[in-house]
Protein backbone atom coordinates (compact mmCIF):
# COMPACT_ATOMS: atom_id res chain seq x y z
CA UNK A 1 0.00 0.00 0.00
CA UNK A 2 2.91 2.32 0.60
CA UNK A 3 3.74 3.15 -2.96
CA UNK A 4 5.48 6.48 -3.61
CA UNK A 5 3.29 9.45 -4.51
CA UNK A 6 4.68 9.63 -8.00
CA UNK A 7 5.17 5.97 -8.78
CA UNK A 8 5.21 4.88 -12.39
CA UNK A 9 1.60 3.77 -12.13
CA UNK A 10 0.52 7.12 -10.75
CA UNK A 11 2.39 9.09 -13.39
CA UNK A 12 0.62 7.03 -16.01
CA UNK A 13 -2.66 8.41 -14.61
CA UNK A 14 -1.37 11.85 -15.51
CA UNK A 15 0.08 11.08 -18.93
CA UNK A 16 -2.41 8.59 -20.34
CA UNK A 17 -5.26 11.08 -20.82
CA UNK A 18 -2.92 13.28 -22.85
CA UNK A 19 -2.68 10.66 -25.57
CA UNK A 20 -3.87 7.05 -25.30
CA UNK A 21 -7.08 7.78 -23.43
CA UNK A 22 -7.63 11.43 -24.26
CA UNK A 23 -11.12 12.39 -23.08
CA UNK A 24 -11.96 14.26 -26.27
CA UNK A 25 -10.21 12.52 -29.12
CA UNK A 26 -10.37 8.94 -27.86
CA UNK A 27 -13.31 8.78 -25.47
CA UNK A 28 -15.18 11.49 -27.36
CA UNK A 29 -16.46 13.16 -24.19
CA UNK A 30 -16.91 16.88 -23.60
CA UNK A 31 -17.38 17.59 -27.30
CA UNK A 32 -20.22 20.01 -26.64
CA UNK A 33 -18.11 22.49 -24.70
CA UNK A 34 -15.15 21.92 -27.02
CA UNK A 35 -17.30 23.25 -29.86
CA UNK A 36 -18.81 26.10 -27.88
CA UNK A 37 -15.82 27.79 -26.29
CA UNK A 38 -13.09 27.44 -28.90
CA UNK A 39 -13.90 30.38 -31.18
CA UNK A 40 -11.27 32.32 -29.24
CA UNK A 41 -8.23 31.20 -27.31
CA UNK A 42 -8.78 33.07 -24.05
CA UNK A 43 -12.14 31.57 -23.05
CA UNK A 44 -10.79 28.17 -24.07
CA UNK A 45 -7.90 28.54 -21.64
CA UNK A 46 -10.11 29.77 -18.81
CA UNK A 47 -12.54 26.93 -19.45
CA UNK A 48 -9.70 24.39 -19.43
CA UNK A 49 -8.43 25.62 -16.08
CA UNK A 50 -11.92 25.60 -14.55
CA UNK A 51 -12.73 22.10 -15.77
CA UNK A 52 -9.39 20.78 -14.54
CA UNK A 53 -9.94 22.31 -11.11
CA UNK A 54 -13.49 21.02 -10.81
CA UNK A 55 -12.79 17.52 -12.08
CA UNK A 56 -9.77 17.12 -9.78
CA UNK A 57 -11.65 18.36 -6.69
CA UNK A 58 -14.80 16.38 -7.48
CA UNK A 59 -12.70 13.26 -7.98
CA UNK A 60 -11.11 13.71 -4.56
CA UNK A 61 -14.43 14.32 -2.81
CA UNK A 62 -16.17 11.37 -4.44
CA UNK A 63 -13.16 9.19 -3.76
CA UNK A 64 -13.27 10.13 -0.06
CA UNK A 65 -16.98 9.36 0.09
CA UNK A 66 -16.79 6.27 -2.11
CA UNK A 67 -17.34 3.76 0.67
CA UNK A 68 -20.40 5.58 2.04
CA UNK A 69 -22.31 6.42 -1.14
CA UNK A 70 -25.46 4.30 -1.55
CA UNK A 71 -25.18 2.57 -4.90
CA UNK A 72 -28.66 3.49 -6.11
CA UNK A 73 -28.20 7.25 -5.84
CA UNK A 74 -24.52 7.48 -6.71
CA UNK A 75 -25.14 9.46 -9.92
CA UNK A 76 -27.20 12.01 -7.99
CA UNK A 77 -24.50 12.29 -5.35
CA UNK A 78 -21.93 12.90 -8.07
CA UNK A 79 -24.09 15.55 -9.65
CA UNK A 80 -24.64 17.33 -6.36
CA UNK A 81 -20.90 17.40 -5.70
CA UNK A 82 -20.13 18.77 -9.16
CA UNK A 83 -22.92 21.33 -9.04
CA UNK A 84 -21.92 22.51 -5.58
CA UNK A 85 -18.28 22.92 -6.64
CA UNK A 86 -19.24 24.80 -9.76
CA UNK A 87 -21.50 27.20 -7.87
CA UNK A 88 -18.78 27.68 -5.31
CA UNK A 89 -16.22 28.53 -7.98
CA UNK A 90 -18.69 30.88 -9.64
CA UNK A 91 -19.48 32.74 -6.41
CA UNK A 92 -15.84 33.16 -5.45
CA UNK A 93 -14.92 34.39 -8.93
CA UNK A 94 -17.79 36.90 -8.87
CA UNK A 95 -16.64 38.29 -5.55
CA UNK A 96 -12.88 38.44 -6.04
CA UNK A 97 -12.09 38.41 -9.77
CA UNK A 98 -15.16 39.92 -11.34
CA UNK A 99 -13.75 40.34 -14.85
CA UNK A 100 -12.71 36.69 -15.08
CA UNK A 101 -16.16 35.63 -13.95
CA UNK A 102 -17.63 37.77 -16.73
CA UNK A 103 -15.34 36.03 -19.21
CA UNK A 104 -16.60 32.67 -18.03
CA UNK A 105 -20.31 33.55 -17.88
CA UNK A 106 -22.18 30.61 -19.44
CA UNK A 107 -19.22 28.26 -19.37
CA UNK A 108 -19.50 27.90 -15.64
CA UNK A 109 -22.87 26.30 -16.26
CA UNK A 110 -21.40 24.25 -19.09
CA UNK A 111 -18.90 22.68 -16.71
CA UNK A 112 -21.75 20.85 -14.97
CA UNK A 113 -22.90 19.31 -18.23
CA UNK A 114 -19.41 18.23 -19.24
CA UNK A 115 -19.47 14.44 -19.62
CA UNK A 116 -15.80 14.20 -18.68
CA UNK A 117 -16.65 14.99 -15.06
CA UNK A 118 -19.35 12.37 -14.65
CA UNK A 119 -17.25 9.94 -16.67
CA UNK A 120 -14.22 10.25 -14.42
CA UNK A 121 -16.24 10.15 -11.19
CA UNK A 122 -18.13 7.07 -12.29
CA UNK A 123 -15.23 5.24 -13.92
CA UNK A 124 -12.38 6.18 -11.64
CA UNK A 125 -13.08 8.01 -8.39
CA UNK A 126 -15.68 5.51 -7.18
CA UNK A 127 -13.11 2.76 -7.20
CA UNK A 128 -9.80 4.44 -6.36
CA UNK A 129 -8.09 6.24 -3.52
CA UNK A 130 -8.11 10.08 -3.25
CA UNK A 131 -4.53 10.75 -4.40
CA UNK A 132 -4.87 8.59 -7.50
CA UNK A 133 -8.26 10.19 -8.19
CA UNK A 134 -6.71 13.62 -7.90
CA UNK A 135 -3.99 12.74 -10.42
CA UNK A 136 -6.58 11.23 -12.73
CA UNK A 137 -8.59 14.44 -12.53
CA UNK A 138 -5.59 16.63 -13.32
CA UNK A 139 -4.57 14.31 -16.15
CA UNK A 140 -7.97 14.31 -17.78
CA UNK A 141 -8.33 18.04 -17.32
CA UNK A 142 -4.99 18.50 -19.05
CA UNK A 143 -5.98 16.17 -21.88
CA UNK A 144 -9.14 18.19 -22.36
CA UNK A 145 -7.20 21.44 -22.16
CA UNK A 146 -4.65 20.32 -24.76
CA UNK A 147 -7.31 19.67 -27.41
CA UNK A 148 -9.29 22.80 -26.55
CA UNK A 149 -6.23 25.00 -26.84
CA UNK A 150 -5.10 23.49 -30.15
CA UNK A 151 -8.57 23.90 -31.65
CA UNK A 152 -9.03 27.40 -30.29
CA UNK A 153 -5.59 28.46 -31.55
CA UNK A 154 -6.41 27.51 -35.13
CA UNK A 155 -9.96 28.81 -34.99
CA UNK A 156 -8.92 32.21 -33.69
CA UNK A 157 -5.92 32.44 -36.03
CA UNK A 158 -7.78 31.48 -39.19
CA UNK A 159 -11.17 32.87 -38.22
CA UNK A 160 -10.18 36.23 -36.76
CA UNK A 161 -6.52 36.61 -37.75
CA UNK A 162 -5.42 36.97 -34.14
CA UNK A 163 -4.15 34.90 -31.23
CA UNK A 164 -5.26 35.72 -27.68
CA UNK A 165 -6.63 38.96 -29.09
CA UNK A 166 -3.27 40.03 -30.57
CA UNK A 167 -3.32 40.59 -34.30
CA UNK A 168 -1.16 38.09 -36.22
CA UNK A 169 -2.28 38.63 -39.80
CA UNK A 170 -1.28 42.25 -40.64
CA UNK A 171 -4.21 44.60 -41.30
CA UNK A 172 -2.71 45.57 -44.65
CA UNK A 173 -3.07 42.00 -45.98
CA UNK A 174 -6.83 42.21 -45.87
CA UNK A 175 -8.80 42.71 -49.06
CA UNK A 176 -10.64 45.64 -47.47
CA UNK A 177 -7.30 47.41 -47.09
CA UNK A 178 -6.20 46.52 -50.60
CA UNK A 179 -4.51 43.23 -49.73
CA UNK A 180 -5.22 39.64 -50.75
CA UNK A 181 -6.36 37.98 -47.55
CA UNK A 182 -9.73 37.36 -45.92
CA UNK A 183 -10.60 35.64 -42.66
CA UNK A 184 -12.33 32.32 -43.01
CA UNK A 185 -15.76 33.06 -41.53
CA UNK A 186 -16.49 29.35 -41.36
CA UNK A 187 -13.78 28.92 -38.71
CA UNK A 188 -15.71 30.88 -36.12
CA UNK A 189 -18.78 28.69 -36.55
CA UNK A 190 -19.14 25.44 -34.59
CA UNK A 191 -18.95 23.04 -37.59
CA UNK A 192 -15.31 23.93 -38.17
CA UNK A 193 -14.56 23.10 -34.54
CA UNK A 194 -15.90 19.62 -35.14
CA UNK A 195 -13.88 19.29 -38.35
CA UNK A 196 -10.75 20.55 -36.59
CA UNK A 197 -11.24 17.97 -33.84
CA UNK A 198 -11.74 15.36 -36.56
CA UNK A 199 -8.42 16.32 -38.12
CA UNK A 200 -6.70 16.10 -34.73
CA UNK A 201 -8.15 12.60 -34.21
CA UNK A 202 -6.91 11.64 -37.67
CA UNK A 203 -3.38 12.84 -37.00
CA UNK A 204 -3.35 11.24 -33.56
CA UNK A 205 -4.48 7.87 -34.90
CA UNK A 206 -2.06 7.84 -37.77
CA UNK A 207 0.79 8.33 -35.29
CA UNK A 208 -0.51 6.04 -32.57
CA UNK A 209 -1.21 2.56 -33.93
CA UNK A 210 -2.64 1.38 -30.60
CA UNK A 211 -5.76 3.42 -31.16
CA UNK A 212 -6.72 1.84 -34.47
CA UNK A 213 -9.49 -0.72 -34.19
CA UNK A 214 -9.43 -3.78 -36.43
Amino acid sequence: MNEPLFSKKNLKLLSDPLNNSNPITVQVLGICSALAVTAQLKPAIVMSISVTAVVALANVIISLLRNTIPNRIRIIVQLVVIAALVILVDQVLKAYVYDVSKQLSVFVGLIITNCILMGRLEAFALGNRPWQSFLDGIGNGAGYAAILIIVAFFRELLGSGSVLGFRIIPESWYIINGGFYANNGMMILPPMALITIGIIIWIQRSRNRKLIEN
Partner: protein
Amino acid sequence: MNRNGNTYTVLYAAIMVILVAAILASISMSLKPLQVRNTEIEKKQSILASVNIESTVANAEEIYAEKIKKEYVVNVNGEQVEGDAFNIDLKKERAKPEEEMLLPVFECQTDDGLKYVLPLRGTGLWGPVWGYVALNDDMNTIYGANFDHQGETPGLGAEISTDIFEKPFVGKKLFDESGKLVSITVAKIGQDAPAEHKVDGISGGTITSKGLEQMLLDDFSSYEEFLKKKK
Protein backbone atom coordinates in the same frame (compact mmCIF):
# COMPACT_ATOMS: atom_id res chain seq x y z
CA MET B 1 -26.40 -0.21 8.58
CA ASN B 2 -27.30 -1.79 5.26
CA ARG B 3 -25.80 0.49 2.64
CA ASN B 4 -28.30 -0.55 0.02
CA GLY B 5 -31.35 -0.22 2.26
CA ASN B 6 -33.97 2.45 1.77
CA THR B 7 -33.45 4.09 5.15
CA TYR B 8 -29.75 4.57 4.56
CA THR B 9 -30.30 5.91 1.06
CA VAL B 10 -32.96 8.41 2.10
CA LEU B 11 -30.97 9.57 5.13
CA TYR B 12 -27.82 9.91 3.05
CA ALA B 13 -29.58 11.99 0.43
CA ALA B 14 -31.28 14.19 3.03
CA ILE B 15 -28.13 14.91 4.98
CA MET B 16 -26.12 15.55 1.84
CA VAL B 17 -28.66 18.00 0.46
CA ILE B 18 -29.00 19.92 3.72
CA LEU B 19 -25.24 20.07 4.14
CA VAL B 20 -24.59 21.28 0.61
CA ALA B 21 -27.43 23.79 0.79
CA ALA B 22 -26.08 25.18 4.07
CA ILE B 23 -22.56 25.53 2.72
CA LEU B 24 -23.65 27.20 -0.50
CA ALA B 25 -26.11 29.52 1.23
CA SER B 26 -23.57 30.71 3.76
CA ILE B 27 -20.91 31.25 1.09
CA SER B 28 -23.38 33.13 -1.07
CA MET B 29 -24.45 35.35 1.83
CA SER B 30 -20.94 36.13 2.99
CA LEU B 31 -19.79 37.05 -0.51
CA LYS B 32 -22.90 39.05 -1.38
CA PRO B 33 -21.65 42.52 -0.35
CA LEU B 34 -18.50 42.13 -2.44
CA GLN B 35 -20.50 40.98 -5.46
CA VAL B 36 -22.99 43.81 -5.19
CA ARG B 37 -20.15 46.30 -5.06
CA ASN B 38 -18.57 44.74 -8.15
CA THR B 39 -21.77 45.06 -10.15
CA GLU B 40 -22.25 48.66 -9.02
CA ILE B 41 -18.76 49.59 -10.13
CA GLU B 42 -19.30 47.81 -13.40
CA LYS B 43 -22.53 49.70 -13.99
CA LYS B 44 -20.79 52.99 -13.33
CA GLN B 45 -18.02 52.00 -15.74
CA SER B 46 -20.59 51.10 -18.41
CA ILE B 47 -22.41 54.41 -18.03
CA LEU B 48 -19.12 56.27 -18.29
CA ALA B 49 -18.08 54.16 -21.28
CA SER B 50 -21.25 55.18 -23.11
CA VAL B 51 -20.05 58.80 -22.98
CA ASN B 52 -16.58 57.65 -24.07
CA ILE B 53 -14.91 58.10 -20.69
CA GLU B 54 -12.45 55.36 -19.84
CA SER B 55 -12.35 54.29 -16.21
CA THR B 56 -10.77 51.56 -14.15
CA VAL B 57 -12.24 49.58 -11.29
CA ALA B 58 -10.25 51.77 -8.92
CA ASN B 59 -11.31 55.19 -10.15
CA ALA B 60 -14.77 54.55 -11.61
CA GLU B 61 -16.68 55.76 -8.55
CA GLU B 62 -14.69 58.95 -8.32
CA ILE B 63 -15.08 59.85 -12.00
CA TYR B 64 -18.74 58.89 -11.88
CA ALA B 65 -19.40 61.23 -8.96
CA GLU B 66 -17.63 64.01 -10.81
CA LYS B 67 -19.17 63.59 -14.28
CA ILE B 68 -22.73 62.41 -13.71
CA LYS B 69 -24.56 65.57 -12.70
CA LYS B 70 -28.09 64.29 -12.34
CA GLU B 71 -29.89 60.99 -12.04
CA TYR B 72 -33.65 60.93 -12.24
CA VAL B 73 -36.60 58.77 -13.22
CA VAL B 74 -39.24 59.51 -15.84
CA ASN B 75 -42.40 57.70 -16.83
CA VAL B 76 -43.57 56.82 -20.30
CA ASN B 77 -45.22 60.24 -20.67
CA GLY B 78 -41.89 61.91 -20.13
CA GLU B 79 -42.82 63.29 -16.68
CA GLN B 80 -40.29 63.18 -13.90
CA VAL B 81 -41.35 60.83 -11.09
CA GLU B 82 -40.01 59.68 -7.72
CA GLY B 83 -37.38 56.98 -7.72
CA ASP B 84 -33.78 55.99 -7.26
CA ALA B 85 -32.48 55.99 -10.83
CA PHE B 86 -29.23 54.13 -10.22
CA ASN B 87 -30.75 51.18 -8.39
CA ILE B 88 -33.73 50.59 -10.65
CA ASP B 89 -33.94 46.99 -11.81
CA LEU B 90 -34.66 47.26 -15.52
CA LYS B 91 -35.66 43.63 -15.74
CA LYS B 92 -38.58 44.30 -13.40
CA GLU B 93 -39.50 47.60 -15.02
CA ARG B 94 -39.54 46.15 -18.53
CA ALA B 95 -41.94 43.44 -17.36
CA LYS B 96 -44.47 46.01 -16.14
CA PRO B 97 -47.26 47.53 -18.24
CA GLU B 98 -45.87 50.53 -20.07
CA GLU B 99 -47.77 53.16 -17.98
CA GLU B 100 -46.13 51.92 -14.77
CA MET B 101 -42.56 51.66 -16.02
CA LEU B 102 -39.92 53.69 -14.25
CA LEU B 103 -37.32 54.84 -16.75
CA PRO B 104 -33.95 56.06 -15.45
CA VAL B 105 -32.08 58.94 -17.06
CA PHE B 106 -28.50 59.96 -16.31
CA GLU B 107 -27.24 63.41 -17.22
CA CYS B 108 -23.54 63.57 -17.83
CA GLN B 109 -21.36 66.65 -18.22
CA THR B 110 -18.62 65.89 -20.74
CA ASP B 111 -16.09 68.08 -22.50
CA ASP B 112 -18.49 68.13 -25.48
CA GLY B 113 -21.45 69.36 -23.46
CA LEU B 114 -24.37 67.79 -21.66
CA LYS B 115 -25.23 64.18 -22.61
CA TYR B 116 -28.24 62.09 -21.69
CA VAL B 117 -27.54 58.45 -20.95
CA LEU B 118 -30.44 56.02 -21.30
CA PRO B 119 -30.19 52.43 -20.03
CA LEU B 120 -31.69 49.73 -22.25
CA ARG B 121 -32.43 46.07 -21.75
CA GLY B 122 -33.55 43.33 -24.13
CA THR B 123 -33.06 39.73 -25.10
CA GLY B 124 -30.22 38.19 -27.10
CA LEU B 125 -29.83 34.57 -28.07
CA TRP B 126 -28.96 32.90 -24.77
CA GLY B 127 -30.02 35.51 -22.27
CA PRO B 128 -30.45 39.20 -21.59
CA VAL B 129 -28.52 41.89 -23.40
CA TRP B 130 -28.37 45.45 -22.11
CA GLY B 131 -26.62 48.68 -22.73
CA TYR B 132 -26.31 52.41 -22.24
CA VAL B 133 -26.79 54.85 -25.08
CA ALA B 134 -25.70 58.47 -24.69
CA LEU B 135 -27.55 61.12 -26.68
CA ASN B 136 -26.51 64.64 -27.56
CA ASP B 137 -28.71 67.41 -26.21
CA ASP B 138 -30.64 67.46 -29.51
CA MET B 139 -32.10 64.20 -28.08
CA ASN B 140 -31.63 62.60 -31.47
CA THR B 141 -27.97 62.01 -32.29
CA ILE B 142 -26.14 59.18 -30.56
CA TYR B 143 -22.97 60.31 -28.82
CA GLY B 144 -21.82 56.90 -27.65
CA ALA B 145 -23.05 53.42 -26.89
CA ASN B 146 -22.00 50.61 -24.62
CA PHE B 147 -23.55 47.16 -24.74
CA ASP B 148 -23.15 44.06 -22.67
CA HIS B 149 -24.66 40.62 -22.35
CA GLN B 150 -24.96 37.76 -19.96
CA GLY B 151 -24.06 34.76 -22.08
CA GLU B 152 -23.86 35.39 -25.80
CA THR B 153 -21.48 33.14 -27.74
CA PRO B 154 -17.85 34.33 -27.59
CA GLY B 155 -16.59 35.40 -30.99
CA LEU B 156 -20.14 35.69 -32.31
CA GLY B 157 -22.98 37.36 -30.40
CA ALA B 158 -20.63 38.42 -27.63
CA GLU B 159 -18.98 40.84 -30.08
CA ILE B 160 -21.75 43.34 -29.27
CA SER B 161 -19.68 44.43 -26.30
CA THR B 162 -16.63 45.30 -28.42
CA ASP B 163 -15.61 48.63 -29.92
CA ILE B 164 -15.95 47.24 -33.43
CA PHE B 165 -19.69 46.97 -32.89
CA GLU B 166 -20.22 49.95 -30.59
CA LYS B 167 -18.26 52.68 -32.37
CA PRO B 168 -20.43 52.79 -35.53
CA PHE B 169 -23.37 53.88 -33.37
CA VAL B 170 -21.77 57.28 -32.90
CA GLY B 171 -23.52 59.94 -34.95
CA LYS B 172 -26.53 57.78 -35.86
CA LYS B 173 -29.97 59.32 -35.44
CA LEU B 174 -33.07 58.03 -33.67
CA PHE B 175 -35.69 60.19 -35.39
CA ASP B 176 -36.14 60.69 -39.13
CA GLU B 177 -36.69 64.11 -40.70
CA SER B 178 -40.45 64.06 -40.13
CA GLY B 179 -39.81 63.51 -36.41
CA LYS B 180 -40.85 59.86 -36.40
CA LEU B 181 -38.92 57.46 -34.16
CA VAL B 182 -37.21 54.93 -36.42
CA SER B 183 -34.46 53.80 -34.04
CA ILE B 184 -31.41 51.97 -35.41
CA THR B 185 -31.36 48.98 -37.74
CA VAL B 186 -28.70 46.39 -36.95
CA ALA B 187 -28.34 45.20 -40.51
CA LYS B 188 -27.20 41.99 -42.15
CA ILE B 189 -24.97 42.34 -45.20
CA GLY B 190 -27.06 43.64 -48.08
CA GLN B 191 -29.97 44.70 -45.92
CA ASP B 192 -31.20 48.11 -46.94
CA ALA B 193 -31.80 50.93 -44.47
CA PRO B 194 -31.01 54.66 -44.44
CA ALA B 195 -27.35 55.07 -43.56
CA GLU B 196 -27.98 57.36 -40.60
CA HIS B 197 -30.26 54.79 -38.97
CA LYS B 198 -28.14 51.72 -39.68
CA VAL B 199 -25.14 49.91 -38.18
CA ASP B 200 -23.61 46.62 -39.30
CA GLY B 201 -24.70 43.49 -37.51
CA ILE B 202 -22.43 40.60 -36.56
CA SER B 203 -21.76 37.65 -38.84
CA GLY B 204 -22.79 34.50 -37.04
CA GLY B 205 -24.55 36.58 -34.41
CA THR B 206 -27.77 37.34 -36.23
CA ILE B 207 -30.15 36.52 -33.40
CA THR B 208 -28.15 38.61 -30.95
CA SER B 209 -28.01 41.46 -33.48
CA LYS B 210 -31.74 41.32 -34.09
CA GLY B 211 -32.45 41.08 -30.36
CA LEU B 212 -30.38 44.19 -29.85
CA GLU B 213 -32.20 45.97 -32.65
CA GLN B 214 -35.54 45.08 -31.03
CA MET B 215 -34.23 46.33 -27.68
CA LEU B 216 -33.28 49.68 -29.20
CA LEU B 217 -36.67 50.09 -30.82
CA ASP B 218 -38.73 48.99 -27.81
CA ASP B 219 -36.81 50.94 -25.23
CA PHE B 220 -36.45 54.16 -27.19
CA SER B 221 -40.21 53.96 -27.82
CA SER B 222 -40.86 54.13 -24.10
CA TYR B 223 -38.53 57.13 -23.85
CA GLU B 224 -40.09 58.76 -26.92
CA GLU B 225 -42.25 61.28 -25.03
CA PHE B 226 -39.36 62.22 -22.77
CA LEU B 227 -37.07 62.76 -25.75
CA LYS B 228 -39.64 64.90 -27.55
CA LYS B 229 -40.25 67.05 -24.47
CA LYS B 230 -36.56 67.69 -23.95
CA LYS B 231 -35.87 68.62 -27.55
